[in-house]
């Protein structure tokens, strides 16, 4: 372990632990959470690790408080994270909205299990994908990433912190029970300063600082508490000064910027992994653990001479609209396996815009797809004329 307390080297660990280590490596020094299967291990590891690296762990009275606390910590200038699963994620929605409105960098991890309601607490689901996008009231955009392995849990947690600091909003890691609980090798490189992004800040005590005045970019510099700025921020619609302004005009200015900072930077944010995509006619669009199952099926299909490929959506939101749109003109069909009854498939279908068939392979949850089911869908599309 280097002096800074971050782990480096090769480890065999589960996704939850890898996520916690990713956070530590990303510079996260505050964690507030509430236990819930299958995300609890993240909190547990943070409770052990944070005091070692000079950070603070606190278990709050519920998920609402946890979410509020990480927003507070972020405004004290500390990178902060919480983790949960479906029921807790539902409870966090209101304050995720506050995070968006105050433009507060932080990371929220959802290790998805099967719902609705308490559902199957210890078993996998990928059913909160649309909730990640739409779960809080109001008009906004969000960033959500979806790791497929403990290694990606580590890597994408760092990425999530970077994106949250860069674009000033809560970034969601939409993992799932299998990735969270499965153990594999995780390689943790030494993290250099230039690998990490820190929010832009006004000069300490700079006069005339306005909390929401941007300087050309869509993201305003962020003051933190205790630096003499004496700033005000509010969840109400506000102007550049951070003052409430109860007009439709102020609303439009604010919301337009909040939406545009994501939409116009989509290319910077969106990550996809191509798997056997060369010349693919049938593209399996998948994410999380399902991307790996899909790759298994694609490999089999290729062996059978079917030109299949897999597009892993590493970034779920903003949606890879352009990529799907381009592919739609080139491929015959999209196969979309999800451990839900249809969520991302709606986006794929919309972006395909009738130019390629879109076939959902739904799963109600509790386990991953049998590869054969995905293979069958690939074959069905292949047989289409």
């Amino acid at each position: 372990m280097p002096d800074n307390g971050c782990l480096t080297g090769e480890f065999f660990m589960n996704g939850d632990n890898a996520c916690a280590e990713g956070a530590i490596s990303a510079g996260c020094r505050f964690f507030a959470g509430y236990p819930i299967t299958p995300a609890t291990e993240i909190a547990e590891r943070m409770s052990r690790r944070l005091p070692v690296v000079g950070g603070t762990y606190i278990q709050m009275e519920d998920e609402i408080a946890s979410m509020a606390a990480i927003l507070g910590a972020s405004w004290a200038g500390v990178k902060a994270m919480t983790s949960t699963s479906g029921p807790g994620f539902s409870l966090m929605m209101e304050n995720i909205g506050l995070g968006i409105m105050l433009e507060t960098p932080c990371v929220v991890v959802n290790i998805q299990r099967a719902g609705p309601s308490t559902g199957l607490p210890t078993l996998i689901g990928q059913q909160d994908i649309m909730q990640a996008r739409w779960g809080s009231h109001g008009s906004y955009e969000i960033i959500a990433l979806s790791p497929d392995s403990p290694q990606q849990m580590f890597d994408l947690t760092i990425k999530a912190f970077n994106l949250s600091e860069k674009y000033r909003l809560p970034v969601l890691i939409m993992s799932d029970e299998v990735v969270g609980h499965m153990s594999e090798k995780v390689v943790m490189p030494e993290i250099r300063t230039e690998d990490l992004f820190y929010r832009e800040m006004p000069q300490k005590g700079a006069a005339g600082y306005l909390p929401y005045k941007t300087n050309g970019s869509l993201v305003p510099p962020m003051a933190i508490a205790g630096q003499g700025h004496h700033f005000h921020v509010t969840g109400l619609t506000h102007d550049e000064r951070g003052y409430p302004v109860m007009t439709s005009r102020a609303q439009d200015q604010l919301i337009t910027r909040l939406v545009d900072k994501i939409r116009l930077n989509a290319d910077d944010i969106i990550m996809c992994n191509d798997y056997m995509m060369e010349g693919a006619e049938i593209v399996v669009v998948a994410y999380g653990i399902t991307a790996r199952i899909a790759q298994f099926a694609v490999k089999q299909a290729r062996e059978q001479g079917i030109k299949a490929g897999c597009l892993q959506l590493v970034t779920l939101w903003p949606f890879a609209e352009r990529r799907i749109g381009q592919l739609a003109s080139q491929v015959k069909a999209f196969v979309v396996p999800e451990i839900n009854r249809g969520q991302i498939v709606y986006e794929v279908e919309r972006c395909a815009c009738g130019r390629a068939r879109t076939l959902l392979v739904p799963h109600s949850g509790g386990e991953v797809h049998k590869p054969a089911i995905i293979s069958a869908a690939i074959r069905e599309c292949h047989a289409d004329r």
Binding site: F12, P38, V178, M182, E184, R292, K299
Partner: protein, 182 residues
């Protein structure tokens, strides 16, 4: 590319998930293979039955679940009834003879060791799983003996290295004694 699936099954508190971790780490970190460990979770894994499953492969593992384990380590009657009894021919079955009664010889190639009794005799019943691991090492080459040794040390509490190594070797030697060199 070679791929081995291993199931470890028994009840909560036997250190089954720990075994999975030891094997997984040995394979992936020390033997530079690919390894994926999945396990049973929830209240079930505390009182009742408990399971850990490891895939070890020379190539990246896409599908992380086992389907036809080549090796099964069985540490309770319930696990035997559910899995061990039906293990097909050509697979390897390692059983704690103290905890499991087998009505008829299973189809699989089966070896038994009274790991929990030996552990008790050694004075620390918690090391039954490490004894079983030694036994496993004697019967399978999927992970190297040295890798397992190193991995054991990584996972056990500091100060208990010697005792655990003794347990590991005891399990290994039990096999050698009983069955002769593999």
């Amino acid at each position: 590319m070679s791929k081995t699936e291993i199931r470890l099954a028994g009840f909560g508190g036997q250190g089954i998930v720990l075994l999975g971790n030891i094997i997984g780490k040995a394979a992936s970190i020390y033997n530079k293979q690919y390894a994926a460990l999945t396990q049973s979770y929830g209240p079930e894994s505390r009182g009742g039955s408990c399971r850990a499953e490891v895939i070890i492969s020379g190539a990246p593992i896409e599908y992380p679940y086992i389907s036809n384990p080549q090796i099964q380590v069985i540490l309770s009657q319930e696990a035997y009834n559910e899995f061990g009894a039906n293990a097909p021919e050509g697979t390897l079955l390692l059983v704690d003879a103290e905890l499991v009664k087998m009505d008829k010889p299973p189809a699989a190639k089966t070896f038994t060791i009274p790991a929990s009794r030996i552990a008790q005799e050694m004075g620390r019943s918690v090391v039954a799983n490490i004894i079983m691991l030694g036994f496993f090492s004697a019967h399978s080459d999927v992970v190297s003996h040295e890798a397992l040794e190193k991995s054991v040390v990584d996972f056990i509490p500091a100060g208990s290295e010697a005792f655990n190594m003794k347990a590991f070797e005891t399990g290994y030697n039990y096999s050698k004694k009983k069955h002769g060199p593999a």
